[in-house]
Every structure is written in C-alpha cells, then in structure tokens.
Amino acid sequence: MIGQGKLLEIQDLRKNYGNKGHVTRALNGVSFDVLKGEFLGIMGPSGSGKTTLLNCIATIMKPTSGRVLLKGDNISSFDSKRLAEYRGSRIGYLFQDFELLDNLTGKENILLPLSIHGVDFAKAREKLHELATFLEITDVLNKFPSQMSGGQKQRVAVARSLISEPDIVLADEPTGALDTRSARNLMNKLTEINRKNERTILMVTHDANAASFCSRILFIQDGVIFHELRRQQSESREEFYERILQLLAQLGGGSANVL
C-alpha cells in the first residue's frame, strides 16, 4: 500500500516572524518524512504552526532555516523561476475556499495548470475525461463556479490539482468550507485517489473526521511535532477516529494543565 522510499523530507525546519526584539517562533525545528503513496495528516490547534509548515512546503513561504527536499531537491532554496516550474506541475494544491477563477468554466479551471506550463491539450484530453468521470463533475465542466455547489467546486479543484500528475498534493483544510455530506464524499474520493493511484497527499486539518481518512497523522503544537498516530492495517476508519478523538481530548486537557 505504501510505496518505498521518501518522497518529501523535512529537515529541522524553522520559521521566525518579527524582528529582533519580538520574535515569534512559528516552527521550531520540525523534521519528518513523507513516503511515496502516503496519505499524511497534520493536526494541531490554531497557532500551532501547521499552516506555516504547509506554506513552507508549498513554497509560498521561505523557512528561516532547515530544508525541504522533494525527491532529493532542496526546493526551499529554489529561486522564483524554478519554484514556478514546480508549482502546479510537481506540486498540486487544494484550498479551503477552492480558489477557482470565477470567470473561467470548470474545464478551463482544471486545464489552467497545463496552460500555465504550456502542456499540449491533446495529451490531457483523456486525463481530463478520466478525472471528471471519477470525480462526478462531467456535467459542470462547462459551467462557471458560480453555477456549482460547494462540493462540485472542491471536486473541480481536486481535478485541477491532479491534472498535471504532481508528485504530491498539498491540501489545506479542504473540507473547511463544506457541509458534512460533501466533506465525506470529498474525503472518500481523496482516499481512493491515494489508494488506487498511489498519489501522495499531505493534508492539514483540525477536523478529526477528515483526519481519520489519513494513514498517518502528525500532531503539531507550538512549532514542534510532539506526537504521531498511525492507522493500523486492521483498524477501521471509525476506530481510528475514536483514537484521534481520545488523543485530542488528552491534548486539550494537557494544554489546559499547562496553562
């Protein structure tokens, strides 16, 4: 199920905000690996540093120190030109509020990464069809985002993140703006993509329900990783969910004690 080898290596990542007198350490030495084909979740309360971590991996933020290696390349040291080549083609993105361009149709939105990177449409025709069928969005391909439901919008966004067959998909609270049913539907689709196509997904969330779809979850607080949960082979999603809740409860108590 999980492929061999490390796809992404995060090494001692640190990120400070502010200036000399006032330093906020958002990431305080984070290290972990993401294996190929893994569905990794990152959980943590607000202000824990999980969004900063995702932004650093997403290359939209430069870490203060430390390295982010994607297939061995240190992408945190890339210049903007090389980064642009990575974005959208080697790395796919999913956002909480979809970020579809509202003056483009569904199809045009999905094809956007290919347009930007100058890929011939003929090569993508089949892929587009396949993704649209799988994500059940064929009937909204010629519609504008304003004519779609939230779930449809996020599935169009999923298609967009996958169209260029990236090494990894980074998802930032992808269920945050969806109702329960759409959220579950989306997570099922993501899981299937992960299992069938061995697509690596890294998802940041604070929703235990969404996190229970992951194969492994890292817990982050005050800029450091302090716990890890792995879903057992035999474990059902519901059982895994229970375990996550238990841990969160302990954590809540723990932090309350600290305070």
Binding site: E99, L104, L112, P113, S115, I116, G118, P145
Partner: protein, 721 residues
C-alpha cells in the same frame, strides 16, 4: 487626529493612484484652456478687425464651458468611484471599528477637497502652460510676425476653473458618499466582482451582433448618401442609429468572444490565452455600455479632430494670394489721396500705384413700367451659353421654366455664367482698359492693347465659385468659335464688340470695397463715352514695395502704413482685413472643435483605463491563484498587457470605421474641404499621431499600473520570493 488622517490619506491617494490624480488635473487644465481663450494672442489680434465675430465666438464659450463641465463631471464621478472602490475595505474597517458613517463621509469630502486643491494647483499650472504654448505656437504659425506674444494669465479663467471644478468634485463625492452610506459593512469588506457569470447563448449574441451591424450600416448609409436631405434630422437619425448599433454590436461581440475562446480546444492550453480572453470578455460583456460609450466618444473625437484639422488646412488660403494683387485700397478725393500717397512720409510704402476707375454704363432710357432699357444686347452670347448647357438644364431653359438664378459651385459653368450676365449685363460695370493694364503690369502680365471694338468680360475671382475664372472652357470655346466665324456675340448701343478670351482675372481692390461679380473692361475712350458719371468712383490701389517686403516681411510695413493712413484720416482697406477675416474662420473653425475632439478622446481613454484597473483590483485574487498554480510574473504581465491592448483596441477599432464613414460623409456634404492640399498628408499624419499618442500614453499608463499591482501581489506573506 482627524485632520492628520485626512492629510495622510490624501497623500496616499496621490501616491498610489496616479491615474485618479491625473484625471483631476486634466479636468482642471481643460477648463482653464477653454476659459482663457480670449487671452490668446491670435484672438486679441483678431479683435482689432473682426470684433463682432470674435465677440460672437467668445459668447459661445460659456456654452462650451458648460458642456465641458457636464462631460467632465461624469469623468470625475467615474474616477472618484474607482478611487473609493479601491479603498472600500479600508472604509469597512473604519466602520467596523466604530466610526460613524456621517463622519466617514465627512472625512471623504475633506480628503476630496484636499486632493482637489492639489489638482487645482497642478492643473492650473499645466493649463496655463499649455494655453501659453498654444498661444505662442498659433501666433508664430499664423501671425507672420505681426501677432506679438504676450504672457497672459486670465484671472477670470482661474476663478471659473476653481468654481467649476470644485463644484463637480463636490457633487461627485456627495453622490458617491451617499451611496456608501447605504452599503453594509460586509459589502465593503468583501469587495469582489459580481460572481454571476453567464455564457449567453450563441444565438442571442449573434442576434445582437446582427442587429448592431444592421443599425450601423443604416447609419453609415444615411451619413454617406442621404446627408443633404433634411439635413439636421438625417444627421440626428444617423447619430442615434449609430449609437444604438454600437451598443448592440459591442454587447454581442463581447459575449461571442468569450464563447469563441472556450470553443477552440486546441489552443485552450496555450499559456494564459483562455484566461486573457475570459478577462477581456468579462470587461467587455459586463461593462458593454461604458465600452460602447467610449467607442462613440472616440468616433466623435475622430470626426471632430478631422473637421478641426481640415479648418487648419484652409489656412494656406489665408496666405494664398493667387488672385489678390493690392495690399491697400484708399478711397476719398482723387487728388488728395494721390498727394498723400506721393508724400515723403508715405512714398516708401507705395509701389505699383494704380487709380482704379469704375462706374455703371449709361442707360438707353426707361420703358413704360419704369424698367431700365439696356444698351447691351448679348442675346447671341446667351444663345450660345444655353446651347452649351447640359441637356436637363437646357430643356428647363427652353421651356422657360427657370425662374431665378443661383450661382453655386455645383452648377455647370454655363449656368453660372448665364446667371451672372442676366443679373449684371443690363447695366454693367465699366472699367477703363488703362486701369486694368496697370494692374496686369503690377503682376508682370501683358497689357491688353484692346482694339476700338474689343472688350474683356471681367469676372471677379474672389466672389465667383468657379475655379480659374480666367480660363472657363465653355466661354473660351464660345469666344473662339465666334472669332473664327466673325460672329458678334454682343453689341453695345448697336456697335458690335469682340470679346477677348484668356485674360488673367485678378482682384480689383485689396479686400472687399468693390463687390462685383462681373464688369466690362473697355478701351478708355469707350469708357469716357459710356460711363454714367453719377456712378463714377475712384480707388487708389498700391502695394508695399518688394524691397521693403524682403527686408521686413509683408506684415510689419503693412501695419505701419495702416497707422499712417489712419492718422491722415482717409478711409482705406488693406490686405490685413482680408487676412484677419480668413484667419478668423480658421481659428473659429479649428480651436473649439479640436478642443472638443481631444477632450472626448481623453475622456474615453480615462474611462477605459479606470474601468480596466477597477476590474484588475476586484479580481486581484485570481492572480494570486494563478501564481499558486505556477504562473510566473512575466506570464501574468504578458496576459495583462494583452488584456489592456484588447480592451483599448475593441472600441477604437469600431470608432475608426465609424469615424472614417463620418469624415467621408462630411467630405461629401462639403463640410470638410480637402482639395489637393499639399499640407493634407502631413496634417493627417500629425493628427493621427496625436490621437495614437494620447491612446498609447493611456494604454501604457494602465499597463504599468496593472503590472505594478502584479509586483505587489503577496500570497498571505510572500509569493515567489
């Protein structure tokens, strides 16, 4: 605190939004330029000769000013709306923090006034500078050294500029402030483009384009072929149809464009092409009304500028003295004038002195009804002229249906000649041969040396609408035939007279003291014999000596001679009057029209610019998303440049077509004359360059501003750094 905030915000507006500020400055400068017209050198100069006409022109200025005020009000409104839109989030924030709406609007008005003062200072400075520049250029260009330049600052113009500008700025801010008052904080905080996107069905769009094209074609047809019928109404109808047609066309075109963009699959992933087209489509289809209005304004602008420029073209007529010979004509007692002109004081200014004698021919008597009986019998000439008429006119003549005569450039020459002679030949003017010989001598032509039974039919080249009156083919042919067959075309008091062909025709006086269409030039003894002494008059004509002209130019000696003649108390006219009048037509015809034309163009460009930047601002997030998906800044800038180009190109393309038809129509209706003028080509290029120049400046400014926004893009913290 309140005051500090106002100043700080106003300063920031100036810095961040140059286009907004530039619009205000343009408005101020245009007001000043039109209001300070009466201080222009050329106007001051013309006031001396054509004070009535100039006063009429100046009386029109308040209307032009009012019209400019009206147009610029909308521009200011648009500019302010754009500026407030940019800051809506900030306003939302103020309100969220508990600022009262009344206070916010008060603050806006105060900021607006503060910026207005800056705009007024800069605008007046630029306006005064431009007015000086125009004044100086025009004086140098047309004045030939007699129009002196003087620095002038019109105080009334400044006062009215300030009042007018502050008024429209205040009203605009009040209207926008009122709108703000009714907006919810949520709307202010989330200022996004209207999310509603519609594809529009293909059929509907084609229908729109079809309707638009049909209306435009009808308007073009009216302008080209039906212009002279019920003039005003047809013009109005063509204008209305053209406007509606433009709106339909652009509406249909904008949407169709988007559909076309999504149809071509092959190219759909070629760079940001689809995105570019969709942005353009959004800009055009959703704002089709204002895009159409800019297109219409541009059309009007092109037509007005062409019209104004054609007036400048006729400037060479002002200097062109093909037919005019004399610089001065003095009237008064023959001997006294002669004495003055030969005096020591005047002599240096006098060359080719010529006494022109003129008078009516005597009458044979009166008939029973008291009508004059003429000594002239020109029935043979009349017959020949009728024969030379085109068939249609000839039939009218022969049936006796012709009631009166009009002399116009549209008539065949023979018809005009018939008209002139019917009116003049009963009691024609007589000019002695010697007078005309001296005139011919002055321009180095052969003297006439008329035989005792020979005469010349003089036709005044300044008043008759025919080209080259000294060589009218019809007349030449008739004269030649008559000479060959020894036939008499005309008799005076029973004596046959031969008509001398191909005599050069020149103006008899310096300007207009003698306004006659035709005269008979006869040998001196015939003149003495036939002239009616009661109508006998004399005019002294002279020219400024060539040598003096070479030394000082024509205008300066002319001015000096005028002063001396005035001092001596004689009535006189000079070529300056002629020059002044012609110049007036040019100035009146070009100044206000060019002003309006350029104003329209600037308004159209500003509207396009502001609209583009508003859309850009409202859809800023799209560019962030694009950069997340890997778009490079250069890629996005390229797309933006393309969007700007398309946004500007669409309305101007249509405007160029409509404008060309409009100009063509005006040429056909002879509103614009462009006969083979050597200046035509350079002048067209010059004004085309001005239009293109203004256009490109705006396009480039918008591109720059938009690209600047791209550079400022930040994804939460830092994109692509």
């Amino acid at each position: 605190m309140f005051f500090k905030l106002i100043i700080r915000n106003a300063k920031r507006s100036l810095k961040e939004n140059l286009i907004y500020f530039a619009t205000l400055v343009v408005a101020v400068a245009s007001f000043y330029i039109i209001l300070s017209l009466e201080k222009q050198d050329v106007i001051i100069f013309l006031k001396e000769f054509e004070s009535d006409a100039i006063n009429k022109l100046l009386a029109l200025m308040p209307i032009v000013y009012g019209f400019a005020l009206f147009l610029l009000f909308f521009l200011i409104l648009f500019a302010n709306r754009y500026q407030l839109n940019r800051r809506s989030k900030e306003f939302g924030m103020y309100l969220l923090l508990g600022m009262r709406k009344e206070r916010l609007i008060l603050q806006l008005l105060a900021e607006g006034m503060f910026i207005s003062i800056w705009a007024l200072i800069s605008g007046l400075f630029i306006g005064a500078f431009l007015a000086e520049l125009i004044s100086l250029t025009v004086a140098k260009l047309v004045g030939q050294g007699i129009i002196s330049h003087q620095f002038s600052l019109s105080l009334t113009a400044i006062v009215f500029t300030v009042i007018g500008f502050l008024l429209i700025q205040f009203i605009a801010l009040l209207i926008l402030g009122g709108k703000l008052f009714y907006q919810e904080i949520y709307q202010l905080l989330n200022d996004q483009m209207d999310k509603k996107q519609e594809m529009g069905d293909v059929k509907g769009n084609i229908f729109h384009i079809f309707i638009g094209t049909v209306l435009l074609v009808i308007a073009y047809w009216l302008a080209l072929f039906r212009f002279n019928e019920v003039e005003g109404f047809i013009l109005f109808l063509a204008l209305i149809l053209g406007c509606i047609g433009t709106i339909f066309f652009i509406k249909g075109f904008g949407k169709l464009l988007g559909i076309m963009a999504s149809r071509s699959e092959k190219k759909s992933t070629k760079g940001l092409r689809t995105f570019t087209f969709r942005q353009f489509q959004e800009n055009v289809a959703h704002k089709y009304l204002s895009v159409s209005v800019t297109s219409i304004l541009m059309t009007l602008s092109i037509i007005l500028i062409a019209d104004g420029a054609s007036s400048i073209l006729s400037l060479d007529k002002v200097y062109n003295r093909e037919t005019s010979v004399y610089d001065f004509t003095v009237y008064g007692e023959k001997e006294k004038v002669e004495q003055l002109l030969n005096s020591e004081e005047m002599a240096p200014y006098v060359a080719d002195l010529n006494l022109l004698e003129i008078g009516h021919m005597k009458r044979k008597g009166e008939d029973a009804d008291g009508m004059s009986i003429s000594m002239v019998d020109w029935s043979k000439l009349r017959e020949e002229l009728i024969l030379a008429l085109p068939r249609k006119e000839r039939e009218l003549f022969e049936s006796g249906d012709i009631q009166g005569y009009t002399i116009s450039p549209d008539n065949p020459d023979a018809l005009n000649l018939l008209g002139i002679l019917e009116i003049d030949a009963t009691i024609p003017y007589l000019i002695p041969e010697s007078s005309y010989n001296r005139l011919l001598e002055a321009v180095d032509e052969e003297p006439l040396n008329l035989q005792a039974n020979e005469m010349v039919l003089y036709l005044n080249p300044d008043l008759l609408p025919m080209e080259q009156v000294d060589n009218i083919p019809v007349l030449e042919q008739i004269f030649k035939n008559a000479a060959q067959s020894k036939e008499n075309l005309l008799t005076i008091d029973g004596t046959a007279f031969f008509l001398r062909p191909s005599v050069p025709m020149r103006g008899l006086v310096a300007d207009r003291s003698i306004e006659i269409h035709s005269a008979f030039i006869v040998p001196d003894q015939v003149f003495e014999q036939l002239v009616n002494r009661e109508t006998y008059e004399t005019y002294w004509n002279f020219r400024i000596p060539k040598k003096l002209q070479d030394e000082q130019g024509l205008m300066m000696p002319m001015k000096e001679a005028s002063e001396k003649l005035s001092a001596a108390g004689f009535g006189f006219e000079s070529y300056l009057h002629n020059f002044g009048r012609q110049l007036f037509y040019v100035v009146a015809g070009s100044y206000t029209i060019l002003y309006m034309g350029i104003l329209f163009l600037i308004i159209a460009c500003t509207v396009l610019a502001l609209q583009f930047l508003t859309q850009m601002k409202q859809t800023k997030n799209r560019f962030l998303t694009l950069s997340m998906l890997g778009a490079k800044r250069e890629q996005m800038k390229k797309s933006l440049r393309m969007q700007v180009l398309l946004t500007f190109l669409l309305p101007i393309s249509l405007a160029v077509v409509s404008g060309a038809v409009g100009i063509w129509g005006l040429i056909k209706a002879v509103f614009i004359r462009i006969d083979n003028n050597p200046l035509l080509f350079p002048m067209s290029i010059f004004f085309a360059c001005i239009v293109l120049g203004i256009f490109s400046i705006y396009g480039m400014a918008v591109s720059r501003t938009a690209e600047g926004e791209i550079d400022k893009l930040r994804w939460k913290t830092n994109v692509g750094e």
